[in-house]
């Protein structure tokens, strides 16, 4: 028995019939073919699937699609505006905050929400702030630096993003 949902993703509204058990991450990846949001575990620990749901970062593997009915969602694909990188994207590249890139979309989405609540964080706060997300490649040093640098920039200029 399918259920109709209407969900706005990165500024576009989608109406689809879905099984009630369909995980939001599968809806995003398979129904909408937005494959930037990744899956790295089956226990809600890795954060590779992190998106913004009504502005808050959530693990989309832990939510059913039907629970997001009527919601506004942002994924990594929505970060760029007018062909320009979000300061976090720019900083991740500039400070080598990614290697295999698998954790990166989730890290970026988590960092957006974290900086919204704490625009001028200490290193320690950043580390705790992204402890919801695992990275097996970078050793986190450069992710932390990238978030610090992006935060600096974001305090200076207002950033426009769907997020």
């Amino acid at each position: 028995m399918k259920k109709e949902v209407t969900i706005n993703v990165n500024g576009t509204s989608y109406t689809e019939e879905v099984e009630p058990r369909l995980l939001l991450v599968h809806f995003i990846r398979e129904n909408l073919e937005l494959t930037g949001t990744h899956i790295g575990c089956d226990t809600s620990h890795c954060g590779a699937c992190t998106i913004l749901l009504n502005g808050d970062s959530v693990k989309s593997c832990t939510i059913f699609t039907v629970q997001a009915d009527g919601a506004e969602i942002a994924t990594v694909e929505g970060m760029m505006q007018d062909g320009k990188y979000h300061p976090l994207q720019e900083a991740f590249k500039e400070y080598h905050g990614l290697q295999c890139g698998f954790c990166t979309p989730g890290m970026l989405m988590r960092a957006i929400d974290f900086l919204k609540h704490n625009p001028d964080p200490t290193e320690e706060e950043i580390r705790w702030g992204i402890s919801s997300n695992l990275c097996r490649c970078t050793g986190y040093n450069n992710i932390v630096i990238a978030i610090e640098k992006a935060a600096e920039k974001m305090r200076e200029v207002e950033v426009e993003t769907v997020a």
Binding site: G40, D42, R136
Partner: protein, 790 residues
């Protein structure tokens, strides 16, 4: 000695921290990982796995599963047997069931595969497959596996009477015995490196696509060694018509590898079989739980280590006896002559001539494996053994561990150095490395602080590790996998307008090859790196090579790129001589152009020369501007490092805080400093992981006790300290670029540094050794035992 760039920033050759080419697609969410591949009509596979570690399969009933709407078929071992596809070789010439016909040998083993029209239906059908098992008592303890009355597990092997796999030894047993007998000081310790799992954040999987019309099999697959996989698939399935030219393996973007994506897992083979039988693409993506429970483990070496020395602390001999638990099959991917990998690097960075090392490997009812966890074939085990023992010796004779190391190091002018177990270390400056690390961390002040802290009853420790790695496998005379020589390759094509594409036999999993390989070619040809596209991982287009693991990419394929580029530079020189009407000897090369000696205004840029190779080349010369090279390294490379770690331990709770960690690495000449530093950071976190957090634990019945990310503890940014890094540089004398390879050094070097620091902190209590992972609970138990807490 620091490396100075020969090329301008615009060209972007060696030594420039170019931003990575691959990042743009990743930060936009536009990478293409296996699970992102979606083909028309694609079906989904899911796997029924064994709840038992050792059991007879009495029956498999697929009726209920097949009755579910959307289920296409269920494949069992019996089905595969009909096509003689139910067994496959491992990379180390052992054998492994694809799917069992009668017995399961480890928990989470693949028992049957369901193919359905969606992921969800496939998962439902897995639940509906009924398997009737008759459980048997598993063999879980590798020591007991060798008991005369232990059940023989590999009854599939004709005449097999025990669970012993192989005995490997190296060195002079008698001479070592002799030195030990006469030594002033002998220290001995049992050191166990537990089973761990690489747990790359992307799990394994594939999309197998057989086109019945063209008889072509394309497999998108999470593999670090696509070419070797193609050959193995052809060997296993050639008899059903899959000959090698009809198989195309594509390794797309990989979400980390670390050795876990070298082996060929049963899931791949069943998906390939399924698409072959059904004629529709089949996707298989494992869950994290499956990944941790069934895919290759690393380590599981139980080592008895002994070090002999004079009373002043001059090391005289090292002896090590090891029991290796391989699980159900030897799933290592080692070079075939080296079943215990590069374990004989265990004599370390020290100058002595006597050693003996041995390894006995056994089968148990644990999942198979024996792969690296970001290390070159058992180097981590070897380094842990020697670096712990050196500290134990220092503690025993009351000498500072830095001083003891300095006194025993192989000296800079002794390279190339023949080690006690036969390796020829290419280069190094161990004294300079340790000195730099000590200065950077402020060693002397830390020791003073430690004295003060100890007087107050506080537990602070300083740990050193000065390891030597052995990477870049390897010279063809000794190194092969399943007979395939371990060379690697590069093919460069420069287009008429001076822009290039280069392809390689390796495969990046995050190391940044698309950037660094371009830099190597830029260095040699003077074509800007940004104008060079790099491709890997497609066996239909890339030259043959054995892939990326064991820090071999720069050591082999990187060297191949340099040499292929030099072939092209030679061709460019000939064209320049022709165009400028001078002899070749009268020409001078600087990155990007040839000019006439003494008349620098007469010159031709590389772009002009490439264009001429298509439009105006000397009579008799072949047109075009392409080169390929298969590089056979003359020796391995020997990166080294000096790491120092400072820990503070809470005397009440046992909590361990890594206060500082300094890593000085010598990986030879550096191609991209930013990327090298990133590799070291990542490797260090994969070093603290087994040192303090990770271990796969099984009970006596063969049940895994921590088979998911709920309790298999991969460090987050909070557990991972802020790493401090720097370098010394001793170029490899035999590598065309002087490079050595880097990505695994930190994973090798970090654990002993951390454990040495923890033991140092607890040494006032008489502690000489702690097994990894060193958890707060383990430390608290020691504190309790010693009466510090009650």
């Amino acid at each position: 000695m620091e490396f100075t760039c020969k090329t301008s920033k615009e060209i972007g050759g060696m030594g420039h921290s170019l931003k990575r080419r691959e990042d743009d697609r990743f930060i936009q969410g536009k990478g293409n990982y296996v699970d992102d591949v979606k083909l028309p009509g694609m079906l989904y596979m899911d796997i029924v796995r064994s709840p038992y570690a050792y059991a007879k399969i009495k029956s498999i009933n697929t009726e209920k599963a097949l009755a579910i709407d959307g289920v296409i078929t269920v494949i069992t071992g019996k089905d595969l047997e009909e096509h003689n596809l139910h067994w496959m070789p491992t990379f180390l010439s052992d054998t492994q069931m694809v799917l069992p016909t009668d017995t399961v040998m480890y928990q989470a083993q693949e028992v049957a595969c369901v193919i359905a029209t969606s992921r969800y239906i496939a998962a439902d059908a897995v639940e509906a497959v009924e398997v009737d098992y008759e459980p048997m008592k598993p063999v879980m303890d590798p020591h007991k596996a060798l008991d005369p009355d232990a059940p023989v597990l590999r009854t599939d092997k004709e005449g097999k009477k025990d669970n012993h796999i192989y005995h490997w030894e190296n060195g002079d047993r008698e001479k070592t015995e002799e030195v030990f007998k006469n030594a002033d000081v002998v220290v001995k310790e049992q050191i166990y490196l537990p089973r761990i799992h690489v747990a790359s954040i992307e799990t394994c999987g594939c999309v197998a696509d057989y086109q019945t019309a063209t008889k072509k099999m394309t497999v998108y697959m999470t593999t670090q060694a696509p070419h070797a996989v193609r050959t193995v698939v052809a060997l296993v399935a050639g008899h059903v018509g899959l000959s090698e030219e009809r198989i195309r393996i594509i390794s797309p973007d990989l979400g980390g590898g670390f050795g876990g994506k070298v082996p060929i897992y049963p899931g791949y083979i069943v998906a390939i079989t399924a698409t072959f039988l059904i004629g529709k693409p089949v996707k298989w993506i494992e869950d994290r739980t499956e990944n941790l429970q069934a895919d290759s483990f690393a380590r599981d070496y139980d080592m008895t280590c002994e070090l002999a020395a004079t009373k002043e602390g001059k090391i005289q001999a090292f002896r090590i006896k090891t029991l290796a638990d391989m699980g159900y099959t030897d799933g290592s991917a080692n070079p075939s002559k080296y079943p215990a990998g590069m374990f004989s690097i265990c004599t370390g960075s020290y100058d002595y001539s006597t050693a003996f090392a041995e390894v006995d490997a056994v089968y148990t009812n644990k999942p198979p494996g024996g792969i690296a966890y970001r290390c070159s074939f058992r180097v981590t085990e070897a380094a842990h053994a020697i670096e712990r023992m050196v500290d134990i010796l220092a503690q025993k004779i009351g000498k500072d561990p830095a001083e003891l190391r300095m006194e025993n190091f192989i000296k800079k002018d002794q390279f190339p150095y023949k080690s006690a177990l036969g390796w020829e270390y290419d280069s190094g400056d161990y004294h300079a490395g340790l000195e730099k690390a000590m200065n950077m961390i402020g060693y002397d002040e830390l020791r003073k602080e430690q004295v003060e802290k100890r007087a107050k009853g506080e537990y602070m420790g300083i740990g050193i590790c000065t390891f030597t790695e052995i990477v870049g496998a390897g010279p063809s005379k000794d190194f092969d996998i399943l007979g395939l020589k371990m060379f690697d390759s590069a093919e460069i094509r420069v287009h008429p307008t001076g822009k290039a594409i280069a392809r390689f036999g390796t495969k990046s999993q995050g190391q940044g090859h698309e950037t660094t390989y371009a830099q190597i070619i830029a260095e040699e040809l003077g074509i800007p790196a940004e104008h060079i596209t790099i491709e890997e991982g497609d066996t239909d287009t890339a030259p043959y090579g054995l892939g990326t693991y064991a820090s071999r990419s720069i050591a082999t394929a990187g060297a191949a790129a340099a040499i292929a580029a030099r072939k092209l530079r030679d061709k460019a020189r000939k064209i320049a001589a022709y165009l400028l009407e001078v002899s070749e000897e009268d020409l001078e090369w600087e990155p990007g152009k040839f000019s006439v000696k003494g008349a620098p205004e007469k010159s031709k840029t590389i772009q002009e020369l490439v264009f001429a190779a298509y439009t105006n080349y000397p009579p008799g010369m072949e047109g075009g501007f392409e080169a390929v090279h298969y590089y056979d390294p003359p020796n391995l490379t020997f990166p080294s490092g000096a790491y120092i770690c400072v820990v503070d331990i809470d005397g009440k709770t046992g909590a361990i805080k890594v206060r500082r960690f300094v890593a000085i690495d010598d990986c030879g000449n550096i191609i991209n400093p930013m990327i090298v530093q990133g590799q070291i950071h990542g490797g260090l976190t994969q070093g603290i992981a087994p040192a303090m957090y990770e271990e796969l634990i099984y009970d006596d019945e063969g049940n895994i006790l921590n088979g998911s990310f709920m309790d298999y503890l991969v460090p987050t940014a909070v557990e991972s300290p802020k790493w401090e890094t720097d370098h010394v540089v001793t170029p490899s004398p035999h590598h065309p670029l002087g490079a050595k390879g880097v990505a695994e050094s930190p994973t090798v070097g970090a654990p002993p540094a951390i454990v040495n620091a923890i033991v140092d902190a607890l040494s006032p209590l008489g502690v000489t050794h702690v097994e990894i992972p060193v958890t707060p609970y383990k430390v608290w138990k020691i504190l309790k035992e010693k009466g510090v807490v009650d």
